[in-house]
Amino acid sequence: MSAVIDGFAVVLEPTNLLYCLVGVVIGMLIGVLPGLGPAATIAILLPVTFGMEPVTAVIMLAGIFYGAQYGGTITSVLLRLPGEASSVVTVFDGYALARQGRAGAALGIAAIGSFVGGTLSIVALTFVAPIVAGFALDFGPPEYTLLALLGIMLVATISSGGRIRALAAAGVGLLLATVGRDDFTSAERFTLGNLSLADGIDFVPIAMGLFGLGEILYNLEERHRAVQPPAKVTGVWPSRADLRQSSGAIGRGSVIGFVLGILPGGGAVLSSLAAYALEKRRSKHPERFGQGAIEGVAAPETANNAATTSSFIPLLSLGIPANATMAVIFGALLIQGVTPGPQLVTEHPELFWGVVNSMYIGNVLLLIMSIPLLGVFVRILRVRATVLAPITVLITLVGAYTVNNSVFDIGLVIGFGVLGYLMKKAGFDPGPMVLAFVLGSLLETSLRRSLLLFDGDPTGFVTRPISGTLFAMFLAVVLLPLAGTLLRRRRPAPTAGGEVAAHPEADRPTDTAQTQTGSMEPGPTVNESAENRPADSQQMKSGLVAGKPVSQSPSSTGPADAQVGSMAERPGESPSRNPNSETKEPE
């Protein structure tokens, strides 16, 4: 315990405090800049750390990492450009809130959630890090295979564009993930002989193109209906009602983030997805999600910050970097002559506890900074699109270039920008595509690795305890609602007993939510007419339904449209059709 207290003494040295501040400020800035992620920034800053003490260096680098999670929220909410992959889901409700003039509340709740999630995660890290050592190693390829599968199914649930379209987009994302040299046979796949594609397509240009450029292009076309950004942002602090509404989400988000962050792989991204999906499922009014539900911002932002913090656990307790950023910090430690490993806590207690404890300070700094800086960033919304769009495009392209110093990546951004624009025109949400792309290579390599380990026998997935559990979860999430659907289709009256009876609850929120994401705003807007109600319940009975029968879209122009946050619905995206028609249902 004295080591913990000594750690605080280390943090409170003026130099360390200063670099903690420097780190979180840089982190916040690069978090706001889409494209330049913490891993790239930390790599760029490595030479600067050569002259520092190891503790100071890592305190600063860690500050960049979790600071970026705070900053990434800002552009998600204000510009609908996720600054970081882990803020992608924040876009759904955060942007909706901003369009309703509640950007302040969204950013405020995100800062509070991030603070709570980060802090709870540090406390847990302090106690758990020494114990957790053996656990992370039990996650081998089979476990990752199932985690990735679960993640992709979550993608389909969180998407607001309709499940079938989401799965279609996710399928394209999976295909894109196969581009590049095969990791197992080094055969070229879809590289067209281009060396720049040998390692596959980078995540950054895809995300920047589909989300960033695609959105800008789409907005250019939509300008005639563009609504002025909120002239005044009132209530930078979330209201008491917001806080009450979000407290549960923040609590659950902290736990999800902490647990998923420990696992090597995309902890922050996965946990933000999982937290969002959980809140949507739990909510009594899931239709609010995508329309500006404050929990939809609180949950993922809490979770990604908690995950960011807990992803230090495998690095500091095992010497295993959990993600790209951790790998770069691993490299920074090596430069300093400190090899992260199981002995780090005992051999370099001042480093271990210094870094851990600096995160308390850093989170407090970020919370304090978030309040004055919020005003600064909110003002971005007042800048006219004609000014902002070119600047954003420029920053996006510069950011895309700096990741790999590659002109080819700039071309990719433009290509995916056009694709993103076309997808939105056709009513497809680019979100699932990007996220499936991220999980795609994990899924493929883990699956193939697992089969090598099992000598080609797939039953291995079921017999290993952790992967078996995950497999059961996967079945529960995916197949049971489907089975319920089929049963109910055979027997129109929902009288099926047993497990099916248990599931109306499970699939209700999702399906209702998907149906309702199409609706403009909670409350009696345009065509939210009585005839849609039966449609909803009909859909619940029929389970998976692709499109939205809610037919208000074309008529809802102007302000109502602007209040719709998520990528879901624009006119034309929700082809109206007979709600009772089952002909287009998936089998």
Partner: protein, 329 residues
């Protein structure tokens, strides 16, 4: 317009790092003609933070002091450095673009990729060798393996993790198990850390990783060293036999060199070589080598070409002799 704030911050960062520490021009520059009159770009074909990147950066700093001009490291990751090598080949041969070239790209990758994708080191101008990394075969303690004989005696099929296809990690183990007659299946991972994790987690029996990567885990008793693939016992691991001592012919190392485009003027190559030799003598760089368990291999271009071409021939022969196909899983 507030968005310019982060943009400015970014520009500041880039300036800071691009020129950081390399600006003192009080070295003994000017002794050889006009070269260099501006900054030299050092391409790195691997991700920032990886071993090759760290080596390049550790060397760039002291060498630039002698050169009197900044040496800016630029990462162009992709295809084990083939992307950067292609760019280097296309760059102007004026001594202002050089690259940290990894040996595996020159003498192992050609065995695993189609001929038209293989990079030939003889199409470049080698400035100087840098250092060598040794591979060590490690086992999960629960396997009970302590020597290669233990693995053979277990008489069971084993799984081994590699750091990827066409890497030294794959070549060493494939050759070793072919010679030892062990039924072994390769499971490729992306890099040293995940391969190491797979051993620690017991997902595979053994893995070959670079010495520096495994050091901590070996000292902690979580991984058992079986053999190294060095030519002689590395000073860092005096108790672990080499594969040669254990009776197998598997001399495989990772090696790195500074390489310029073909046709770079001799004066520039010589001037760069002098600068890098000053860099090698720098105490901070020497300490870096010790910490990373790297063995110096600061030979000139001719000697390096001989080493690497020799390795390629040796591996070609061994692979043919044991009928190994590195591209097949």
């Amino acid at each position: 317009m507030k968005i310019t704030l982060p943009a400015l911050g970014l520009a500041g960062l880039l300036l800071l790092t691009g020129c950081g520490g390399n600006l003192d021009s009080d070295g003994d520059s000017g002794s050889t003609a006009a070269y260099p009159e501006r900054a030299v770009t050092l391409l790195v074909g691997q991700d920032a933070g990886g071993s090759t990147d760290l080596i390049g950066r550790a060397l760039a700093d002291p060498a630039s002091k002698d050169l009197g001009q900044p040496i800016t490291v630029q990462n162009k990751p992709g295809a084990n450095g083939a992307v950067a090598a292609k760019e280097l080949a296309a760059a102007k041969a004026d001594g202002y673009t050089v690259m940290v070239f990894v040996g595996s790209l020159a003498y192992i990758t050609p065995l695993a990729v189609p001929a038209d994708q293989a990079v030939d080191i003889n199409n470049y101008e080698v400035v100087t060798g840098i250092s060598q990394d040794d591979f060590v075969l490690i086992a999960n303690p629960q396997t009970g393996f302590k020597t290669v004989q233990d693995i053979v005696a277990a008489k069971r099929p084993i799984k081994f993790a590699t750091t990827g296809v066409g890497t030294g990690s794959q070549l060493t183990q494939t050759l070793l198990f072919a010679q030892a007659g062990v039924d072994a299946t390769a499971v490729p991972f992306n890099g040293g850390a995940p391969a190491l994790t797979a051993v620690l987690g017991g997902q595979v029996d053994v893995a070959a990783v670079q010495l520096g990567e495994a050091k901590e885990q070996i000292e902690a008793g979580k991984a058992v060293p079986i053999v190294t693939f060095a030519t002689q016992r590395p000073s860092y691991m005096p108790d672990t036999p080499t594969a040669t001592e254990a009776g197998f012919q598997v001399p495989v190392q990772q090696s790195r060199a500074i390489v310029a485009p073909k046709g770079t003027p001799k004066e520039a190559v010589d001037r760069l070589r002098t600068a890098f030799q000053k860099g090698f003598a720098d105490q901070a760089y020497k300490d870096f080598n010790t910490k990373r368990l790297l063995t110096a291999n600061e030979v000139d271009g001719t000697a390096l070409l001989q080493q690497w071409n020799g390795s390629l021939q040796t591996y070609r022969d061994l692979v043919a002799q044991h009928k190994i196909d590195l591209t097949a899983k």
